[in-house]
Symmetry: C3
Subunit: 365 residues, 3 copies
């Protein structure tokens, strides 16, 4: 059920671009098509292959040229060099078509939101020492602990539990059933998706043979979690509190769903991680890194700025040079893998045999 | 604490089979044992090795023949060629013993359920425009948004938060603390386990250098999530909403716990995935696929019908031929792995050396 | 925001050690420093490199000798051979410095906790047949089902949903938004972090072609979950109920976040698992095992006691000998990996070529 505005609320292309301030810098020209002019009303956004005649679409590269030829969209955002001669659709020529699409999608998303009245739902349980801005929206069954501060225009949706001594910066959104432990702080404009847990105890234990053979004694986790501005955290992602100091997530970091960040980690500004990534304790990841899904980091290592890690890669030692790093076991038909795996388990033997051949080929029988 | 019915409520074997309609097609014969007749009362189900004399058990293949010889169960479901001569237990001969066991387990599960009265708990917060069938059960602290439809005999258990414009088909169950974002639709007889999150924003960002070097601009996710009939989704699994169109899960799909399905994915009918699988955005998986635990799929690829993926395998490109695919790093004692890993990191060198040997063996050394 | 006590509440070093019973056995001597005596007040704990002059720190090995030389801490726990001559800080000489640090951290953690009054929050929904100890703390919006027993001094925090016929042992803590299905039992002093789900249905299905081609029939999961004493379970970890018997977690087991334990598994006493581990159904793991993050276990295998598994390793068959096991694909610069991966996919060919060279080197070329 994608967003489709009723015709009466749909803007013309001209109105839409006028309403998005950034479009003035991004759009170099708007060309009428044979069937659709810039006065066409835009009811939604669709992919080239399935957009209807009242939807806008976009294309980022020549890779999708074929779909451009057959689209029904009434307007298409495209990069310079890709304009067609007299197509049916209006053409919005733009150096960064993906960014303009993002801005337009945001416009449609905001327009469809129902206006929620500020205030606290009657069923919310808010400690009397908490400081909740009057413009904030606190949903049903929310719990907010002592001495916690909730900024202007924050939305805390149903079922969230926010501990004591927390800070939630202005314009942040907590989707339902998020849990913040005590002493969790986050900046402005953060988005926390459902099921996120910030500030659970880090995994710290000391062997305690006084209890029992092999027993573990818990190490209290005395630090907290500190999140910058403009951070988005995906559903069911968990970030543990520090053992002594805070676990720190920089500004503009984007974390997908089901990510695990261990205690004492530091993630640099604008780093993005796809889903299911795990970062073990005390590891430091630099700025502007891009981490593929299900990548895993050992603890106590350091990754410099501007590193890309391929999905599924295990990083077990520090990385000091920017660039892309990979380590994924290739897959293939099962029987083929079985043959290769058998050799894999004896790889050092194989190298010995090659060495032997190199040394003295004539002695081999 | 497995299910054990009190003797007064326990059925005889004959009564039990009579009560399960499918048993007429499945069971070819029921043979009395030397100690137990088909009139024995069945209080529960147990594995062969530990079943007590008032429990039924089952065996699917010769692999468990030894356990069959020593079981105390009063009745055993077994496939045709496995009948014993005069065993203590009654024998239920059946072409598909595992399926008959499943049907009997379901019988015991249903019988033990307390009867919950339909209706909405007083603490639930239900929007006045929501349409909740009078036969539905809405638990404590549940929240249901505007214009959402809840079908007949649906159970929404404590702490669930259901957004606006959702549809929940008849006889579906939402276990506690499930979150559905706006515009999530599911068919009939679905089971969502605790902590499931459907419809969180897909992970979509466009580089936005206008904000800061390396900064990401959020792409609003305008699609929804659409789930078929008879889908089961395990605890803490997350399925993101589509960017422009819906993320789609087919009929009869079975997802285990802690699975992540990215935005715009499509999963075909009757596909089953074990726990911890990740499917990156826009990937399409066919019908009747079986995906092992912790397998990972790259984004924007397509897997045909009837594919099996081994656990722990990373699939990085499309698969067009049915069959089994694998790619798992073999494990072994640490020292042995270290030796092999050292060679692994120089594998292309090793091949060069072999090539060199093949070309001109006499020149070596 | 680490824990820092106000000066008036901060103990002297002597008072602190006196208050921790185990310190008498652990500490061999306390030496005054040139600037700080054992009468110095300790307001918190910090790492050597950043501890302030009113914080205590610790060092476990010579690896951190350099940081010891420059620390501002007023007191340092250190192992016997590491005492300095006349340092500024007081020295607490101790055979097991990490364990003493753990005990002191616990002291600081307990001291900072606000005293919560026992009793049930007015918004909690507690079945009249549940048996809640009067010393227990039941938070807002908690739900507790029929015939469930909650022991002395248990804390069940906001938003938790506890099913019917559960048992929660004395002094256990359930952090917010935990879900326990019916028939879940746990011992004393357990800690369940936010979002934990215990007792969801195991992933059990039987092919049921009577429904549709490729369709799966659900197998009711009739067992429960049984957790020992002193078990800690990390945020969003899930442990499924058994199919026929219980899934069993031994005493003193420590599970990190986002772990998945399948139905019918058994985990032995004092085994510890780092985050993101997956254990497929019916697998048995022994006592005192240490499992690295993101390791994965196939189903129906058995791991003996005292096994260590490296992070990211897939274990696909039983292990009968204690020791460390590893299987991780090494990572490196992407181009290098590509070259190696190309060979990996043809490894059995490479072995054939080596074999050929060994057999008859002169015939090559």
């Amino acid at each position: 059920m994608p967003v489709i505005l009723p015709p009466t609320k749909a803007p013309t292309l001209t109105e839409l671009l006028d309403d998005i301030a950034e479009s003035r810098a991004l759009v170099s020209s708007v060309l009428a098509g044979t069937k659709h002019s810039p006065d066409a009303r835009i009811r939604g956004i669709g992919p080239l292959r399935s957009a209807s005649a009242d939807e806008l679409s976009f294309v980022v590269s020549n890779k999708f040229k074929d779909e451009l030829a057959i689209t029904d969209a009434c307007a298409v955002i495209l990069p310079p060099g890709m304009q067609a001669i007299a197509p049916a659709y209006a053409q919005i020529v733009c150096d960064q078509p993906y960014l303009l699409y993002a801005l337009i999608a945001r416009w449609f998303d905001v327009k469809r939101q129902p206006t929620i009245q500020p205030g606290c739902h009657a069923s919310a349980v808010i400690d009397e020492t908490a400081n909740v801005d009057p413009t904030a929206v606190i949903g049903p069954h929310v719990v907010i602990g002592a001495h916690t501060t909730v900024g202007a225009h924050v939305h805390i949706l149903a079922g969230c539990v926010v501990g004591s001594n927390c800070e939630i910066g202005a314009n942040s959104i907590l989707y339902p059933n998020v849990t913040l432990y005590d002493n969790t702080r986050m900046g402005a404009r953060c988005i926390l998706h459902a099921g996120v847990v910030l500030g659970a105890d880090g995994f710290g234990f000391a062997p305690n043979p006084m209890l029992a053979k092999g027993a573990w004694g818990k190490i209290a986790q005395l630090g907290g979690v500190r999140i910058g501005d403009d951070v988005e955290i995906g559903a069911n992602t968990t970030i543990d509190r520090g053992a002594l100091e805070d676990t720190v997530i920089g500004n503009g970091v984007k974390l997908d769903n089901q990510i695990m960040v261990g205690h004492n980690c530091q993630i640099g500004d604008h780093t993005a991680m796809a889903a299911c990534v795990g970062v073990a304790g005390s590891t430091k990841i630099g700025k502007r890194c891009i981490i593929g899904g299900a990548a895993m980091f050992s603890g106590h290592i350091s990754i410099t700025d501007d590193v890309q890690i391929s999905g599924g890669t295990a990083i077990t030692s520090s990385i000091e040079t920017p660039g892309r790093y990979t380590g994924v076991m290739p897959s293939g038909p099962h029987a083929q893998w079985q043959r290769n795996a058998a050799v894999l388990g004896k790889l050092s033997d194989l190298r010995k045999r090659v060495r032997q051949l190199e040394r003295n080929p004539d002695e081999i029988e």
